[in-house]
């Protein structure tokens, strides 16, 4: 039997395959297909302090090997989550990580304090990289001081595992990664979506109500993989790899580049079973390569 367990700081995952925030709802939707406990973890839909309607329709556009979204963090707010969703999902046998989003540092702190009370949520993912909201999100994530400030202040009130989600829309992502590591982040996850755009030539209008949106899917995989590799070589904290992962080979590539855990995002829209196939594919790979522990893959790129 191969051992698929991995650790992120002191958070243990039964396998390295998790689902990306905003693409797996609150894990309940996955439960309609299969037991969420088959996966290492679920990064829940981005949550804010107050209810948010999100952006106007249309919010998505298909692109070559990918898609744009401009959801804009639609959610019912943290209190609704705590009262109505958390009780339903808290006993899933998997890691549930909440993805928090603020317009101000105070928002992040207030959210974190509420999350602190939830015993079955052992980790938080600070989203400082959403390209689809005016108020904040990416504004924090694209400068070192912004990223540092959010990380430092949340760290003061949060003792469990704190993962900071990085934006790829920067000149040097290792600078941001090092900055948040310096402020006490336990892990960094990357990448969020790339700021992008689609136009309908015939109607001469943007395809999204917000003009620009976030690009995800296999199209971004080579850039995301490069960033994960750079960051894994620049920081000591573990890295969560995200971006266009469609199958086990993709997941293994991210792990070879240095990711301890991977998130499957857009792929699930094309086939909700992909995450399970990835778990199987990693097991199969380990057997073929005579590996006992999945940790042998992590950072195993040979130069």
């Amino acid at each position: 039997m191969v051992n698929l367990k991995v650790k992120l700081h002191n958070l243990e995952f039964k396998n390295p395959v998790t689902l990306a925030s905003g693409t797996c709802g609150f894990a309940r939707e996955i439960a309609e297909f299969y037991d969420p406990g088959l996966l290492g973890g679920h990064f829940l839909k981005g949550t804010t302090l107050k209810n948010r309607d999100g952006n106007a329709y249309p919010r998505m556009a298909e692109t070559p090997s990918g898609m744009l979204n401009a959801v804009g963090l639609q959610n019912k707010g943290i209190d609704y989550f705590i009262d109505n969703i958390y009780p339903e999902i808290k006993d899933y046998d998997t890691q549930l990580i909440i993805n928090v989003n603020g317009s101000t540092v105070e928002d992040y702190i207030a959210l974190t304090e509420k999350v602190n009370e939830l015993d079955n949520i052992q980790a938080i993912e600070l989203n400082i990289s959403c390209p689809n909201v005016k108020e904040g999100g990416m504004a924090f994530g694209v400068t070192c001081p912004g990223a540092e400030m959010v990380t430092r202040e949340v760290r003061k009130v949060y003792n469990k595992t704190m993962i900071v989600k990085l934006s790829p829309n920067v000149t040097d992502i290792t600078e941001i990664a090092k900055a948040v590591e310096g402020q006490g982040a336990d892990s960094v996850s990357l990448v969020n979506t790339f700021l992008a755009m689609a136009i309908d030539a015939e109607s001469r209008t943007p395809k999204l109500s917000t003009i620009t949106g976030g690009l995800s899917g296999p199209a971004i995989k080579p850039i995301a993989l490069r960033m994960v590799w750079q960051v894994a070589n620049a920081v000591k904290i573990p890295v969560v790899g995200i971006g266009g992962i469609m199958n086990a080979a993709d997941a293994i590539e991210f792990m070879l580049a240095g990711a301890s855990v991977i998130q499957v995002g857009t792929a699930i829209f094309t086939d909700p079973m992909i995450p399970l196939k990835i778990v199987e594919g990693i097991e199969d790979y380990m057997k073929r390569h005579n590996m006992q522990s999945v940790n042998e893959i992590i950072g195993g790129l040979q130069l």
Partner: protein
């Protein structure tokens, strides 16, 4: 929580109905779950270099004995075109069953079903499932020309068929909302159900509201996932933005911000 599946079906038949519509019947090796009119499937388009996401299509017919279901596909763009080239024996992957169905009529209800373009599929399904005597069911189908009309004469067993076409080449000339069954006495119906292009849905909703008749419409918003996780397919409602794929695709017009 409603159980959903990702299942490979085998194409039994791909029948060209007219220049742009195809009826595709597919068969599963597994027993089909219960499927109701208004629900839909999300279909993988294989071997198409420029298509990344699945495409949603309404369920048209279900045969629980033969383990088959059918869709009526209208060629709109690249994905639907590719799909209509599928051949008997080919494999096709479905995520299903998705969405909520229409509210079934009560015994003795008089109902009007209105389908436009590819919106005919769920209307015919509902006519069949309604369980009402034929005289209580009017079905009104609208299209550009007779060429675009899906021939559904076998449904005369379940409903009174009426046609509207923009050029008058079949049935009455004009939009469905200009057809006599629609304009004569809308209040005579207990329930109106409609599926079709956005403009048609809004026109129907407006009249139904005025006449104060119960009316459900099925929406076709752009979708990425189809099962409620991406929040791309939203429609503003009295309960805020709702997902067409899980809260719909069927909505009572009084819920919509139209």
């Amino acid at each position: 929580m409603s159980k959903k599946f990702v299942t490979d079906f085998t194409v039994v038949e791909n029948k060209k109905l007219n220049s742009t519509n195809f009826l595709i019947k597919i068969k599963s090796d597994l027993i089909l779950p219960e499927i109701k009119p208004g629900q839909f499937v999300n279909v993988e388009i294989k071997d198409a270099s420029e298509i990344f996401l699945r495409r949603p299509f309404s369920i048209f017919e279900v045969d629980y004995k033969a383990n088959t279901l059918s869709m009526i596909i209208k060629i709109l763009g690249r994905g639907s075109k590719k799909l209509t080239q599928i051949e008997a024996g080919d494999s096709i992957s479905l995520v299903y069953p998705l969405g909520k169905s229409f509210t079934y009529p009560k015994k003795n209800d008089r109902i009007l079903l209105i389908g436009g373009g590819s919106g005919v599929a769920p209307m015919l399904f509902l006519a069949k499932e309604s369980g009402l005597p034929i005289e209580n069911v009017d079905i009104l189908l609208g299209a550009r020309t007779s060429e675009d009309h899906v021939d559904v004469h076998e449904y005369s067993n379940y409903a009174n068929l009426h046609y509207a076409s923009e050029d008058g080449s079949i049935g009455e000339k004009g939009f469905v909302t200009q057809h006599s069954v629609f304009t004569t006495n809308l209040k005579a119906y207990n329930k109106i159900y409609a599926c079709g292009p956005d403009g048609m849905m809004r026109a129907i909703a407006k009249e139904a509201k005025t006449a104060e008749v119960f009316c459900e419409v099925s929406l076709e918003n752009l979708m990425a996932c189809g099962f409620g996780v991406c929040l791309c397919c939203i429609e503003p409602t009295n309960q805020g933005n709702q997902c067409v794929c899980t809260d719909g695709p069927v909505f009572n017009i009084n819920e919509l911000k139209w």
